[in-house]
């Protein structure tokens, strides 16, 4: 608890310094969060180019509006609010343009995010391999079938380990609404994966 309070104080000091125009302080803030920001954008948008755009836009917005940040919420919540909504915009635009694809380009080469399932479950049994492949395909369909908001809540809860209360704060919703959203997402996934049980 004391450690957390200490970190919070450090962050507050950094924010206040950055608000006064201290570029080094701002850079330290960026470094504290940018990996998780890029990871979130990468997993949701599945494109390094789009993730890079979100990264740039998010931190530029933070920089431009930092002077008006009044500590009404945590810096983390504020930053994630910006990032998640930039991502939601991207997802919605992609859906409209029918550019939805599950291929993730990692920067060096293209990689199907879902192909990693097979690597994790390296199985010499052909029947089991077939099962894994089918499961992968089904998971692809399930994720594509979730609404942007459901995907966001699922991503934040499953991959970023955020509690529903925090997710609600980030998305400007109540904890109950975030819970309902996660419930719907998990129900859709359970229904789609029922054959694999």
């Amino acid at each position: 608890m004391a450690l957390h309070a200490g970190l919070q104080t450090d962050e507050t000091t950094l924010i206040r310094a950055a608000q006064q125009g201290d570029r080094d302080a701002f850079e330290q803030l960026v470094r504290a969060y940018d990996h998780s920001v890029l990871r979130l954008a990468m997993n949701l948008l599945r494109s390094p180019e789009d993730a890079r755009d979100v990264y740039q836009e998010a931190f530029l917005r933070v920089y431009r509006n930092l002077a008006n940040f009044r500590f009404d919420c945590s810096f983390h919540t504020w930053l994630y609010r910006i990032v998640t909504n930039l991502c939601l915009d991207h997802i919605r635009r992609k859906k409209v343009r029918r550019e939805e694809a599950t291929v993730v380009e990692t920067g060096e080469s293209s990689l199907d995010r879902l192909d990693t399932v097979a690597e994790q479950r390296a199985d010499t049994d052909p029947e089991r391999r077939l099962f894994s492949g089918q499961l992968r395909m089904r998971i692809k369909e399930v994720l594509a079938g979730l609404t942007p908001r459901e995907r966001m809540v699922f991503e934040l809860r499953h991959y970023h380990g955020l509690r529903l209360r925090r997710i609600g704060e980030i998305l400007g919703a109540s904890e109950e609404a975030a819970k309902n959203c996660l419930f719907r997402a998990t129900q859709k996934m359970r229904a789609a994966l029922v054959d694999f049980k």
Partner: protein, 324 residues
């Protein structure tokens, strides 16, 4: 007493149970059900397996991508002005101070009225003496000359060292480097907006150069005269694709006090009203920064026309009109 949970109800909650997002009571009901239902225990194990399967799908961005992002951000930040708070005006601060205390809240209206009366009285008293600069001809002269040193002598006389500005006429072709340098200098003259506007106008007619661009960007960002800023936007048309110029235009769109200047800025940023009216739609290559600027504009813009323009462009791009 709670009724017993059905198998379907229990299974629908398995993932939330896995995430630890159920209340103590909800968890208890599921655990009770699982104790008496072997089928659901099996289903729970299979659910756990699939749930864990998702873990392996996470992708971590490569170190090189993170490095590139940081470098790009650093470069873009160099073009940004330092963060500046939107300070509340004196009236907001005054009203806020009154609102903060319940006792003061009761007297807010009469005190406010009194303050306005006092302000009006003071303004009427002070304004003529401040505004009538002809009463202080020396002050006007001081703009031309600068006193460097003052030295009193024992006989009562005073020696003053004055820097005098001497006038001379320089003429040459518009492409003459000396003329160009003087025009660039005049475009930043703090005392004379007319001179700045005319100089920018002449610079705009010259072939584009980085010096001209920098001067135009400077004028757009810092000149307190709207006419000069409009002239700067006019000159920036040839540079509209450059990141620094787009950044300045975005800043102008969000913070310029003059709606006319903001209108010209949005035109230049988004490719102009003509594109929208032609039915072709706006320039679909608008970068994320501009989309973000337009979304931000929707939140803070008072001018209905600008909000409508921004909304139409965002809708044409299938972008949200909200900022978060």
């Amino acid at each position: 007493m709670n009724r017993e949970m059905t198998c379907a109800e229990a299974r629908s909650q398995f993932w939330l149970l896995e995430y630890g997002e159920l209340s103590f009571d909800e968890e208890e009901r599921i655990e009770t059900h699982l104790d008496g239902c072997a089928e659901c225990r099996g289903a729970r194990e299979r659910d756990k397996e699939i749930h864990a399967g998702f873990d392996s799908l996470a992708v971590d961005p490569s170190a090189s991508l993170l490095r590139e992002c940081r470098a790009e951000l650093e470069a873009r930040l160099r073009l940004e002005p330092p963060p500046r708070a939107t300070e509340p005006g004196w009236w907001e601060q005054f009203a806020s101070a009154l609102s903060a205390r319940p006792v003061l809240r009761l007297v807010r209206a009469p005190v406010g009225a009194l303050a306005m009366l006092a302000l009006g009285f003071a303004a009427a008293r002070l304004a003529p003496s401040v505004l009538n600069s002809h009463l202080f001809p020396g002050a006007v002269q001081a703009g031309m000359n600068r006193v460097r040193d003052v030295h009193p002598f024992s006989n009562g006389r005073i020696q003053i060292l004055v820097d005098e500005t001497r006038q001379r006429t320089v003429s040459g072709a518009s492409g003459d480097p000396q003329i160009q340098a003087l025009l660039l200098e005049a475009a930043r003259d703090p005392a004379d907006p007319g001179l700045r506007e005319q100089s920018l106008d002449l610079l705009n007619k010259r072939a584009p150069s980085s010096e001209v661009r920098d001067t135009l960007v400077y004028a757009l960002r810092h000149d307190d005269n709207a006419g000069v800023r409009l002239k700067a936007i006019e000159g920036l048309q040839g540079f509209a694709a450059e990141p620094e110029v787009r950044s300045a235009l975005s800043q102008t769109l969000l913070s310029d006090s003059n709606p006319g200047v903001r209108m010209r800025a949005i035109d230049l940023l988004t490719g102009g009203e003509a594109d929208l009216n032609s039915g072709i739609g706006p320039n679909l290559n608008l970068d994320r920064q501009v989309i973000g600027t337009l979304q931000e504009l929707m939140q803070r813009e008072d001018n209905a026309y600008l909000r409508q323009r921004s909304q139409r462009i965002l809708e044409a791009l299938n972008a949200s009109t909200e900022i978060y």
